[in-house]
C-alpha cells in the first residue's frame, strides 16, 4: 500500500464524491424544499447522458453537446414538473414513490425505444483525454480531474446562490415554511418549479460528465440513485452543505474500502478468505456508515434548519 496508490485512490474517491454531490444536490433540494420524494431523479441523470450522446452525434462538438443537453434536461425537468409532479405535492409520500417509480419504468423503456438497448458511448473531448503525471509514477486521467473541478465549481456556485441571492433566500425560507412565504406574496409554485428544473439540470449535468467514462445504457441511473439517497440521508435532508460533505465522505469510504479492504483483512486473515470477505465488507461499508449516522444523529450530519 504505497503512498502514491493511496493518493490516487483518494482522488478516485473525491471524483465519485463530487459526482454523487451533483446528483444529490438536486435531490436534496427537491426533497427538502418541496417535501417531494423523486425517485425519477436517477432517470434524469440517465437522460442527461443520452441527450449528450444525441447532441454530440448532431454537432460533433462536446461543448455544444453539453450546453444543448443541459438545456434539454432543464426543459424536460420543467415539463415533468408541469405535467406530473405538481399534482402530487400535497399528497402522501407513498404516492410520490409510486408515481415516480412509474416514471422510472416508463423512461427506462422509453430510452430503449428511442436509442436501443445496446450501450452507447460519448467520446471524450480530445484535449482532456490523456493522463497527467501528478508525481513520478502517478498517472491520473485528466477527465476525472475535470469532473472533480467542475463538481467543486458547481458546489461553490450553489453555495453562493443559496446564501447570497434573493432566490436562494426564498428557497431557504420556502423550505422552512412554505405557507408563510406564500402569504407574503411570493409565487411559491413558480419557485418550486425553478428549484425542480434546476435539480433536474444538475442531475443531467452529472450524466453528461460521467458519460465519457461509463457506458450510456438504460437503467444507468437506478444504482446511483440509491447512493444519492444515502448521501442526502447522511447529510441531512434539504441541506446542500450536508449533501456536499456526505457525498465526499461516501465517495472516499466506498473507494478506499473497495481498494484496501482485502489488504487490511490480509493482515490478520488467510489470503483466500480475505479475498471473499473483503469485497463483501467493502460493498457494505457505506450502509454501515449510514446506519451509524442515523443511530447517533437521526436527522443527518447537517440537518437543514427548520425541519
Amino acid at each position: 500500500m504505497s503512498t502514491a496508490l493511496f493518493i490516487v485512490q483518494t482522488l478516485n474517491g473525491l471524483q465519485l464524491g463530487v459526482l454523487l454531490f451533483l446528483i444529490a444536490a438536486g435531490l436534496t433540494l427537491v426533497f427538502g424544499v418541496m417535501d417531494f420524494i423523486n425517485l425519477a431523479h436517477g432517470v434524469q441523470y440517465m437522460l442527461g447522458a443520452y441527450l449528450a450522446v444525441m447532441f454530440y452525434a448532431l454537432t460533433g462538438n462536446f461543448l455544444f453537446a453539453l450546453i444543448l443537453a443541459l438545456g434539454a434536461a432543464l426543459l424536460f425537468g420543467l415539463l415533468l414538473e408541469f405535467v406530473i409532479f405538481r399534482h402530487l405535492y400535497g399528497r402522501d409520500h407513498l404516492d410520490h414513490v409510486i408515481a415516480t417509480f412509474g416514471i422510472i419504468l416508463f423512461l427506462n423503456q422509453g430510452v430503449k425505444f428511442v436509442w436501443g438497448a445496446a450501450p452507447l458511448t460519448l467520446p471524450m473531448p480530445e484535449m482532456f483525454s490523456g493522463s497527467v503525471a501528478l508525481m513520478p509514477g502517478l498517472l491520473y486521467p485528466v477527465w476525472r480531474l475535470v469532473i472533480i473541478g467542475s463538481g467543486l465549481a458547481v458546489a461553490i456556485l450553489l453555495y453562493v446562490l443559496v446564501t447570497q441571492t434573493r432566490i436562494g433566500m426564498l428557497v431557504r425560507a420556502g423550505a422552512t415554511n412554505a405557507n408563510m412565504v406564500s402569504a407574503l406574496g411570493v409565487d411559491i409554485r413558480r419557485l418550486f418549479m425553478i428549484v425542480f428544473g434546476f435539480g433536474a439540470m444538475l442531475a443531467g449535468f452529472a450524466g453528461v460528465m460521467i458519460a465519457p467514462i461509463l457506458s450510456v445504457e438504460p437503467g444507468m441511473g437506478d444504482t446511483i440513485l440509491i447512493l444519492a439517497f444515502v448521501v442526502i440521508v447522511i447529510g441531512g435532508i434539504g441541506s446542500i452543505r450536508g449533501a456536499f460533505l456526505a457525498a465526499l465522505l461516501i465517495g472516499l469510504v466506498d473507494t478506499l474500502g473497495r481498494s484496501f479492504a482485502v489488504d487490511i483483512l490480509r493482515l490478520f486473515m488467510a489470503p483466500s478468505p480475505a479475498r471473499t470477505v473483503g469485497p463483501a465488507i467493502a460493498s457494505m461499508l457505506i450502509y454501515i456508515l449510514m446506519a451509524l449516522v442515523l443511530y447517533f444523529r437521526p436527522s443527518g450530519l447537517f440537518p437543514a434548519k427548520g425541519r
Binding site: 496508490l5 485512490q9 478516485n12 438497448a117 445496446a118 445504457e217 438504460p218 473507494t255 473497495r258
Partner: protein, 390 residues
C-alpha cells in the same frame, strides 16, 4: 334441458380437442431470453439469431411449419420459471431454446426437462449440468461455461506471460471463470480481485492494477461492466502497457459502445464473425443485413440451435412423439455448424475448437472480433466424465 347443456358441453370440449389437434400440426418452439434491463442486447442477439435461421429455412424446421414464441425472462429466475411453465403447460411447446444467463438456466432446467420437453441452451452451459446433473433432455450449442476462460489461461501459459492479474464479478460464474484460467496458467497470479456484480466505475481497481504492473490482466466482465472497464482501462493509459485477456468482455455485443478503446484487446471464444467457412460468411452477411449489427456468439449459437432442431426433425420425419428417437436424432448433430467442427459429447455438450480472438475495426467502420490463433482443437469439457449418460 340438462341433457342439452351436457351435449353442448361435450360438443364444446370436442371442438376444443379438435383445435388442439390442429395446433399440434404446427411445431412450437419457445424461446426464453433476456430482453429487458441492461443485458437486453445479449438476449436480442439470441432471439435474432434463432429467428434468422427459421426465416432462412422458409418458416419451417424439419419441414414442419413452426411457431416461435419468444418470452422475456427479465433476468429474474422466478419470472423465467413462470414463463417457461406457461410455454410448457399452456402453449405445449416441443422445444425450449434459451436462456442467456446461467442462473436462469438453473431455474428453468427442471420445469422443462421434467415435462419431457427438449431444452436447448444456446448460451448458458453450467458445469453441474455438464457433469453429475447431466440430463438426456438437455442439449448445449454453446460451450461449458469455463472453456472460454481457459483459452486465456492456456494462451498466457504458452506465450510466456509471467505475472497475471485476475478480475471478475463476485458471484459463482466469476469464480468459475477465474478457476478456468488458473487450470492452465502456472505462472504467478499477482492478485485475484472480485468486484460487485454490475459495478460501473473501476477507478479504484485500475489504480491497483497500475500499481501492481503485471504482464497481463485477465478480466471477465460481461455486458455494461466490460464496456465501462475497457473504456477506463484505455483512458488510464494501461492498454499500451499491459496485455488484456478476457472472455465475454470484448465481443460484438459490447463493441458498439467500446469502439476504439477495445481495438487490439484479446478474448477467448468458440467462434468469431470472420471464421472462414462458407456457411458462416453467409450467416454474418445475412445477419448484418437483417439487423444492422455485427452478430456475436449469442446469435450464432442460437442460429446453430435452430439448425440442430431442423436436422433432428428431418431425421424423425417431423415427428416429436417418440422422444427416444428425437433425442438420438439431436445427438447425431447432423447439421453444418457455423463454427465448422461440432459434435456432441456424451453429456450433450459440444466438442469443438476454441480460439484466441482480437478486436479489430473493419474497413466499413464497424467493429468485430477476429481469430488470432486456435488454442484448443476438438476439446471436450472437463466435466463430461462425471456424467452417467452414454
Amino acid at each position: 334441458m340438462n341433457r342439452t347443456i351436457s351435449a353442448l358441453a361435450i360438443g364444446a370440449a370436442l371442438t376444443l380437442t379438435l383445435g388442439a389437434a390442429e395446433a399440434q400440426e404446427k411445431l412450437k418452439v419457445g424461446v426464453i431470453t433476456t430482453l429487458s434491463g441492461p443485458p437486453a442486447v445479449l438476449g436480442q442477439q439470441l432471439r435474432n439469431g434463432f429467428q434468422l435461421a427459421v426465416k432462412e429455412l422458409g418458416g419451417k424446421l424439419g419441414g414442419r411449419d413452426v411457431e416461435v414464441i419468444v418470452q422475456d425472462d427479465e433476468l429474474k429466475p422466478d419470472v423465467a420459471v413462470n414463463k417457461v411453465k406457461a410455454l410448457v403447460d399452456r402453449d405445449k411447446v416441443d422445444f425450449v431454446v434459451g436462456p442467456i444467463f446461467s442462473n436462469i438456466l438453473q431455474a428453468i432446467m427442471k420445469p422443462v426437462t421434467d415435462a419431457g420437453v427438449i431444452l436447448i441452451s444456446p448460451n448458458a452451459g453450467t458445469s453441474n449440468f455438464a457433469g453429475k446433473e447431466c440430463n438426456p433432455n438437455f442439449f448445449v450449442t454453446s460451450y461449458q461455461n469455463d472453456q472460454n476462460h481457459a483459452v486465456s489461461g492456456k494462451y498466457a501459459q504458452d506465450s510466456g506471460i509471467k505475472k497475471l492479474y485476475l478480475m471478475a464479478p463476485n458471484y459463482q460464474a466469476g469464480k468459475d471463470a477465474l478457476a478456468g484460467v488458473k487450470r492452465h496458467f502456472k505462472g504467478e497470479i499477482v492478485d485475484e480481485v472480485y468486484v460487485p456484480l454490475n459495478q460501473l466505475d473501476y477507478s479504484a481497481e485500475l489504480s491497483r492494477i497500475a500499481a501492481a504492473s503485471p504482464d497481463a490482466v485477465f478480466v471477465f466482465l460481461p455486458g455494461g461492466m466490460g464496456v465501462n472497464f475497457v473504456k477506463q482501462f484505455r483512458q488510464a493509459g494501461l492498454a499500451d502497457k499491459i496485455k488484456f485477456l478476457s472472455a465475454f468482455t470484448v465481443d460484438e455485443s459490447t463493441l458498439p459502445a467500446q469502439q476504439d478503446a477495445a481495438i487490439g484487446l484479446f478474448g477467448g471464444a468458440n467462434w468469431a464473425p470472420n471464421l472462414d467457412n462458407p456457411q458462416n460468411k453467409k450467416f454474418v452477411a445475412a445477419y448484418e443485413k437483417e439487423f444492422n449489427a455485427v452478430p456475436a456468439t449469442y446469435a450464432f449459437q442460437a442460429y446453430d440451435a435452430a439448425l440442430l432442431i431442423d436436422s433432428a426433425l428431418k431425421a424423425t420425419k417431423g415427428s416429436t412423439s417418440d422422444k427416444n428417437a428425437l433425442r438420438a436424432a439431436i445427438k447425431k448433430s447432423d447439421f453444418k455448424s457455423l463454427r465448422g467442427d461440432f459434435k456432441f459429447n456424451t453429456n450433450n455438450y459440444p466438442i469443438q475448437d476454441f480460439y484466441l480472438t482480437k478486436v479489430a475495426k473493419r474497413p466499413d467502420g464497424k467493429y468485430q472480433t477476429e481469430i488470432v490463433q486456435k488454442v484448443f482443437d476438438d476439446v471436450p469439457d472437463s466435466y463430461a466424465k462425471d456424467c452417467k449418460m452414454k
